[in-house]
């Protein structure tokens, strides 16, 4: 059965399904209860599941995560919401030093089945601290898994799969895409959590994206098609671990790869992807792997963020550059 939902509503419904299925699933975060979250992702959940399962926390991210670590050790499955990407840094110590290491530290005896939801990325005209893309910090940390959904169906299933995972998962939500609608198959998941997907096939160049940039990449592919160029779009979905097989297969066919993310290019996910593609597809490459991303500045003020964020034109300019080699 398919339903048309926004990404936000799909996340809300997915959380509800998980809470119905497992009474150990808890939701905790700032304004997630009574307000239903600033983006309404947890809307109605406190009313239906009670304030001991949907918990409004103090404005202290380190405390939210630290508390969740204890709950997870005791067998709960906490789903923490960090209200905005830029608020996660107070919790960074807990995430890197405790969340990522507990399983290893305990020789595998203790697992932390917790999810840390982070609305990330810009494009909503918000103030400082509200538009960042911190995924590389987490993907770089062994012991964490990092995923990002880009469409309602993935939102619905990936949040449930993340909650079912016994490993801690950083769940990055494309906040500027919360209101984009799509079909959700509520009967079965189309892919396991850590698999990449070819979202649009094409033979001329491969554009790799995740989260909010998947929409941008797809728009770029549509525009390129009008110019007679077929771009293959790959949605990574999982940023750690990376599912590279579909990427390699695609690049071997097209010979060209462009990686797109909002985060700054320098030492971003695109750098790792470029390195791996170059190692594995060296003989097939018609041009270097190119990266499109944010600039190496702090995220700018809202009025000029459109100059900062990669858009359709920046993606296609990179594709043009690739064909220039």
């Amino acid at each position: 059965m398919a339903e048309t939902l926004t990404i936000g509503k799909a996340l809300n419904t997915g959380l509800r399904r998980a809470m119905e299925r497992d009474p150990k699933v808890l939701i905790m975060g700032e304004d997630v209860g009574k307000l239903g979250g600033v983006f309404r992702i947890t809307d109605g959940l406190q009313k239906d599941f009670g304030d001991d399962r949907v918990i409004d926390t103090p404005l202290a991210e380190s405390g939210i995560i630290g508390t969740a670590v204890g709950l997870a050790i005791r067998g709960y499955r906490p789903v923490c919401e960090i209200q905005f990407d830029g608020f996660v840094y107070p919790a960074y110590d807990q995430i890197v030093s405790q969340v990522a290491k507990m399983h290893y530290r305990s020789k595998g005896k203790v697992s932390l089945p917790m999810v840390i939801r982070i609305p990330f990325g810009g494009g909503i005209g918000a103030v400082e601290h509200h538009s960042e893309s911190p995924e590389a910090y987490f993907a770089h940390t062994a012991g964490l898994k990092v995923v990002s959904c880009s469409n309602p169906d993935d939102a619905y299933w990936m949040i449930q799969q993340s909650i079912e995972s016994d490993d801690p998962i950083i769940f990055l939500e494309p906040k500027r895409r919360y209101w984009e609608k799509g079909q959700v198959n509520v009967d079965s998941a189309s892919l396991p959590l850590h698999n990449a997907r070819v979202t649009r096939p094409g033979r001329d160049a491969t554009v790799i994206a995740y989260g909010p940039m998947v929409r941008t990449a797809l728009d770029a592919a549509s525009a390129a098609a009008e110019e007679g160029r077929e771009i293959e779009v790959i949605d990574l979905r999982s940023l750690s671990p990376l599912d590279m097989a579909p990427v390699y297969a695609s690049v071997r066919r097209t010979g060209r790869a462009v990686v797109v993310h909002e985060a700054p290019v320098n030492l971003g996910l695109g750098s790792e992807l470029a390195a791996r593609i170059t190692e594995e597809c060296f003989y097939s490459l018609e041009s270097p792997v190119l990266r499109v991303g944010g600039f190496d500045t702090p995220y700018p003020a809202a009025r000029i963020e459109e100059e900062y964020l990669p858009d359709l034109d920046r993606v296609l300019d990179a594709v043009d550059r690739s064909f220039g080699f």
Binding site: V38, F39, G125, A126, S222, R229, L312, D313
Partner: protein, 455 residues
Amino acid sequence: MTRVKEFNLPDLGEGLTEGEILKWLVQVGDTIALNQPIVEVETAKAAVEIPAKWAGQVTRIFHPEGTTVEVGAPIIAIDTDPGSGALPAPSAASLAAVDVAGDAPVEPGLIGGPAPGGRTAVLVGYGPKTTVAKRRPRSAGAPVVPDEPAPVVEVVAPVAPPPAVAAPAGGAVLAKPPVRKLARDLGVDLTGLTGTGPNGSISRDDVLAATTAPAAVATKPAVGREERIPVKGVRKLTAENMVASAFTAPHVTEFLTVDVTRSMKALDRLKAHRDWKDVRVSPLLLVAKAVLLAVKRHPMVNSTWAGEEIVVKHYVNLGIAAATQRGLIVPNVKDAQELTTRELADALTALVSTAREGRTPPADMTGGTFTITSVGVFGVDSGTPILPPGESAILVFGAVREQPWVHKGKIKVRQVTTLGLSFDHRIIDGELGSKFLRDVGAFLEDPEGALLAWS
């Protein structure tokens, strides 16, 4: 722009939905300055003063102190230009349309609803914009590869936008990127090459080899209505020789039809002779013998035009045109004038068989002085042969046929052939050519008589 602007209660925290008016700091009729505190509002997080967004005169205060107001609802109206006279009576429509374009409220509780500028309303920020999958118009001459240093050239004319690059063939060709670069620089098409590098990739050597052997690619047989055969070897030599001869020596060709019945009978007797038991004989032998005797009688036929002088040779290197698999070759029997008939027969047999086997040494193909070409073996009667370069005459010998022929006053069936002689008119006039041809014909009509008479 509207003179009177309404100011809406903003979201003073993040995710706040309402606030209580604690205290108004201004009254209707007050003239206020930009950023002057106008109201104190308490939210769930804190009590804050709100500054005036515009300078002007307060015309209306919407809510008394103590009222809880939803975020986005108007709280105060300000006449931004009070000096310009009385206000026109506001119509209902103008009230409804107050400043929608600039600062329309985010309707509280409608997160995700429409917001100004094609955006979606959110609690924090202007809200995300809806985008379209359309590429912006690109400026003319925008560099496709910005890595390259900008050329120091003054642009005097608008540059056309870069043409779309053709789609690649796909991952079929394996080559290291630097090899691809090399191939492109050398103009080598990688798709035509076989890779000998790692993983079957095309190596640097493969690319270089392709540049040194372009013919290998060029002579690929074209499937279709035409075939292209490279001109080389025997064909090329033949062409050069024929062109050189045809356009330097003015050719004349004469014909003579003769009754060779006696020659054919003489050949039969020769074959039956016990000394000639194992010798292969053919009409060519008698033609050769006839030529040698005729040359002796007319030496000028066996000569070379050398510009300032004519070189008359007292030896005959007798060339025989032979069709072989490699093409036409003309080996010659050196000093044929010295040979007995039997030696001549052996020499001709060896010459032809060696040629047919393709083993003729180069020395046998140079230095010819007179040539016989036998088109009779192809079933035709004659032709107008082109002189081998450096020779002044060539005899063409056609098919021997049984034909009605007047013999001793009666029509009889006789064996008849046609002789043709092409000669270089610079050396040989019609009289000499005719005499020579007639002598050859006379020998073939009566070989025994000619031998007795001339040698």
